[in-house]
Amino acid sequence: MEGLDLLKKDWKKNENSFEQVSEKQIYKMIHKSSSSIVKWIFIISLLEFVVWTLLSFCMKDTEVMQKFNSYHVEHIMLPFTIIWYVGLAYFLFQFFMNHRKISTTDNSKILILNIIRTRKTVHQYVWFNIIYVILSSIVVMFIQLNYDQDILNMISEFDKKGNVAIIYAIYIALTIVFLSIFVGFIWLFYKLIYGILLKRLYKNYEELKKIDF
């Protein structure tokens, strides 16, 4: 006898050799809180929803936004606000629905897939926010170039000197630099979170997929 069969013989022989946990200890255990990956993902995801939502609300009262309101461009900004609320509602709904689907009685492949799906929803929400920031920055840039009196004055001064293109170039370049830094930072942050949270899950999911192909 060799290999796994030898191990099986030993396994069977010693299956009752474990130090037994008492009923009292089990009672204690079931009242402790879980430290499972699903719980961590749930907490971190909820935090992300809260942080991104709070960020948007905080933006509303800043000086820039107040100045912005004075341009009276509600007709341009209203669709953006509606899209943002619809997006938040959609992603939150998806997140909770996916979270409810997670069941330890499913087979391992489905279980891992459902956990990964929950994370994907949050990931999509983050991308929704990033794209939203990029698009709204472009719109804001456009509005400022057309409505902001200070900028309009500056443009006309440069125009008199005959080098109006420079001011546009600087303005667009600054916006691009700012957005790149912003997106780069978020991307790095998520690489890190994903790395910590999902590495093992992805590895096991890939392994299961590999077996079936």
Partner: protein, 164 residues
């Protein structure tokens, strides 16, 4: 949750706890980790228990939840530095049937199994538990044929680890 449900769960788990211990033996490498995983599996079983309708045996149901916890849900606590790495075979041998050569081989086998990845360990676990390929495929969500193929590959891999 009612006290009756709690009592019923605790009694059944107490009677079937060796299933969890055995999974812990494969997936952890120290006594602290063993206890930690045992606790997480117990919590997950308790959470899933209200949905357990008694259509299958408690043990069959517990196998799946426990294995899923070990493969997917369990996060090794980073705080836990295992100072008491246990020898998986240390209390297994009774003096009368002590066989040095066999003991060494079994020790090596345990070490080799510990080097496998999570999914491979699950297959080995169910093989050691005499589960048929139908149950293995249903538990992991892979086809029966591929479960067989993978099991053969694992046997080969173990041989390689043992005789590099």
């Amino acid at each position: 949750m009612s006290a009756n449900l709690e009592q019923s769960f605790v009694q059944q788990l107490q009677a079937n706890q060796n299933i969890i211990h055995k999974i812990c033996r494969l997936y952890t490498s120290g006594e602290d980790e063993h206890k930690d995983l045992f606790q997480e599996i117990t919590i997950q079983l308790w959470k899933a228990f209200p949905k357990f309708r008694g259509e299958s045996k408690f043990s069959t149901w517990a196998y799946r939840v426990a294995l899923n916890t070990a493969i997917t849900l369990y996060r090794k606590s980073t705080r836990m530095v295992s100072t008491t790495e246990y020898d998986t075979t240390k209390h297994f041998f009774k003096e009368e049937d002590y066989n040095y050569e066999e003991e060494e081989q079994i020790k090596l086998m345990y070490k080799a199994v510990h080097q496998l990845n999570d999914i491979e360990k699950a297959l080995v676990f169910m093989y050691l538990e005499d589960k048929d390929y139908e149950e293995i495929s249903e538990t992991l969500g892979i086809s029966e044929v591929n479960a067989r193929v993978k099991m053969n590959r694992i046997k080969g891999k173990l041989k390689k680890i043992l005789n590099p």
